[in-house]
């Protein structure tokens, strides 16, 4: 209920002030719960695509190129240009160098490829 002594402008100022205050006051726990609920609604496939996209954006040229190719492959699966069986038998990404960071990221890409084949279409 609006206090009769307040103008509408003053009333809205108080409401906005309170909204601002509540936004600041949200606890880490409340924030995490909201984010967690939102993440819970995301399909497993989508989270893996998001992680491939992160690898596409890498400075590492080899990883970026391989992640881009892999993203196209995953999109073909999603667009039904490729069956799940066809997707499963595609070759893993290979790396014969000895750079630890590249090796790790290649392993992540192959891991995601395998994980999508386990969970798709979820």
């Amino acid at each position: 209920m609006r206090n009769i002594d307040l103008t509408e402008e003053e009333f809205n100022l108080i409401i906005n002030y309170r909204k601002g205050k509540y936004n600041i006051d949200i606890s880490d726990e409340e924030y995490n719960e909201i984010v967690s609920r939102r993440n819970g609604a995301i399909k497993t496939y989508v989270k893996y695509i998001e992680n491939i996209e992160k690898l596409v954006d890498q400075d590492n040229e080899y990883i970026s190129k391989e992640a881009t190719k892999f993203l196209e492959l995953a999109n073909k699966l999603h667009n039904e240009e490729l069956t799940l069986e066809e997707y499963r038998v595609t070759a893993d990404i290979e790396y014969k160098g000895d750079d630890d960071d590249t090796l790790f990221k290649v392993r992540c890409l192959n891991y995601i490829k395998n994980a999508i084949s386990i969970h798709y279409p979820n």
């Binding site: 984010v35 939102r38 993440n39 819970g40 893996y48 995601i112 395998n114 994980a115 969970h119």
Partner: protein, 323 residues
Amino acid sequence: MSRVNVSSLVVNNRLKLPVLSTAQITALSPETGMMIYNSSNNKVEIYFNNKWNNAGADLLPVSAGGTGGAAAKDGSSSTNAATSAAAIKALKPSSTDGVYWIDLPGVGPKQVYCIMDSNYDGGGWMMALKATRGTTFSYGSSYWTSTNTLNEGSFNIQDGDAKFEVFNRFSAKDLLAVWPDLSANSGCFSVPRGHIWLENNFWQGGTKITLTSLFNTANETFIRDANNFCGIGQFSRQTDVRFYGFNYSNDQNLARVRWGFGWNENGGGLWPNGNQGSDDVAGGIGMTGTQQGQVNYSAGDFIGCCQNVSGFNRSARVEVYVR
């Protein structure tokens, strides 16, 4: 030798015991309560607990300069096998790390590597299992749930795979893991040998249980939020599920661990509410994961993707002790 049975023998002046050498004593058919003078070591000895005991030092407590009593089981031999490393530690607080004889239920005296160093949460630990980098003790291995053993003679802290009768027979209350090839002075307490996991009263608030029974019985036994475990230090993490405990299995058993962590980042928060459909990070002792690209580490840490903290991400050595 003739034998005289009397109900009471009073000696008014002096009593001369039979004087025998160790070789002669060994040839006797001893009975509990016999007393002799051993001329080989100039000691009076009394026979009980199936052995000749020094009537001097062996009857004195440690605090008085004795050995803690002839009946004391100090783990120094098969005959003197103790009931546990903690019992030896209580008897002789200055005991050092090493191999002791422990009398285990069902199998009798066994040589066991023990940590007596008080810096290890007071000491008194017995080695139950050790794993080198590899797959011998992955989740599906029968070593976790059967009373088999492996390389029982390897009771030392050298790199290798071994499972001892301590794992199968000793009902324990406290659990310790030493990770020798991770960074030292880290984990639940600080010692130079590596990273440490410690879980006192690990089963139902302190109920004693053998490890074989534990891993046959535990069904996703959640101990606490993994982020609050003192041993989390060098391990990878994700934001949700955050299981820490025994016998974890995610949905469809795609990611499993005997003692360690379950992680995911698909929302839902803490176990059991967190989404466990696609666990992408694993860590602990006794790992297996199809979700994780056939990770079958005896122990270690694995990142598939999507971690928010990156750990050591490889197979690792571990030693498991009980008390």
